[in-house]
């Protein structure tokens, strides 16, 4: 399975980086930009490596990340 897009809602994200930690393929990384709370939200580093396991969606405490399947 391949991901078409990973949507990160930067206004819901609290920058806890649990999604980056649970990702088995290291698809996500911390961005250099900050959101309106002053927190570093995640960014997609390598979309092609995503296997759509949706662990990031399962572990996100704030429903801020969504993987769209191709």
């Amino acid at each position: 399975m391949k991901a078409k897009e990973i949507i990160i809602d930067r206004n819901l994200c609290k920058g806890c980086s649990i999604c980056i930690h649970v990702c088995p393929k290291k698809t996500l990384g911390i961005s250099e930009d900050i959101n309106e709370y002053g927190l570093f939200y995640p960014k997609v580093e390598d979309l092609a490596s995503c296997i759509v396991c949706r662990l990031c969606e399962l572990y996100c405490p704030d429903f801020a990340i969504e993987v769209v399947q191709e």
């Binding site: 609290k14 806890c16 649990i18 399962l58 572990y59 996100c60 405490p61 429903f63 801020a64 990340i65």
Partner: protein
């Protein structure tokens, strides 16, 4: 396939939540929503009851089912009334460790003893987080809290084993690392006829993490490595009790029929 968008559109009242960054309460909200969605039960047949504490905020106001936010330590008493008044309802109590065992410990014991058909999800972070990190009945021995700065001289309560001994129909313990197991357990607990109890070890980065010198990622790693099904005492996870017993509201109905004659 359940996506975040589907959950936000159908099950969550409002976001962002008031939980601290990295708090496990959001994950438990996610798990409850996924369990309700997997079971395909109507949202009108579910009622959520909560007391006071950080974890009491999980169903009220974020979970979009009928909810009751009650006084400190008494959610199980309110939930018992709700269940007896309308036995058709699936009543879910979400309560913290201080709320369920510290303030309302007797309600928990007696609900388990009478085997009333409610589901209690106890979020255990080992201290009273909302009021500033004071020592709770579930604080481990020698753990530092705000009120025990040199370590807890007392010993912690193994709540799951106490509730199992009190006579619950279903008892399980998981952590926020074990999300899939937790969702399956919540599904089983909601469908269980009698009293079901799930203890969820959750990370509190603000107070527990500060006292243990860990951030929430290290605490999740700690849950993953230390809490196992073959471990002992409070580190043992898994399903402890899964039995069928006569339930309180059914017994009440039988008694009413008998007395009417």
């Amino acid at each position: 396939m359940i996506t975040s968008r589907y959950i936000k559109e159908n099950y969550v009242r409002r976001l962002p939540s008031a939980f601290c960054p990295g708090c496990g309460d959001g994950q438990i909200l996610n798990a409850i929503i996924r369990a309700i969605d997997h079971l395909k039960i109507d949202r009108k047949d579910v009622a959520a009851v909560s007391g006071i504490g950080c974890s009491a905020w999980i169903p009220s106001p974020y979970l979009r089912v009928d909810s009751l936010h009650t006084t400190h330590g008494r959610p199980i008493a309110f939930a018992t009334g709700l269940k007896v008044a309308n036995p058709r309802l699936k009543v879910i109590v979400v309560s913290g460790d201080g709320d369920a065992t510290g303030i309302g410990g007797n309600h928990l014991l007696h609900a388990a003893r009478s085997n009333v058909g409610i589901t209690v999800i106890m979020v255990n972070n080992g201290l009273y987080a909302m009021t500033g990190g004071q020592v709770a009945p579930t604080t481990p021995h020698e753990a530092k809290t705000t009120t025990t700065p040199y370590g807890n001289p007392a010993f912690s309560l193994d709540v799951s084993r106490v509730v199992a001994a009190a006579g619950a129909s279903y008892v399980a313990r998981w952590t926020t690392w074990h999300m899939n197991q937790l969702i399956r357990s919540i599904e089983k607990a909601i469908m269980k006829k009698g009293f079901s109890f799930i203890e969820v070890l959750s990370q509190c980065p603000t107070y527990e993490g500060r006292m243990l010198n860990m951030d929430h990622i290290q605490m999740l790693e700690w849950f993953k490595n230390k809490f196992r099904e073959d471990a002992d005492g409070i580190y043992k996870i898994g399903e402890f009790v899964d039995i069928e017993k006569p339930e309180l509201t059914e017994e009440l109905e039988k008694m009413i029929e008998r007395v009417k004659k």
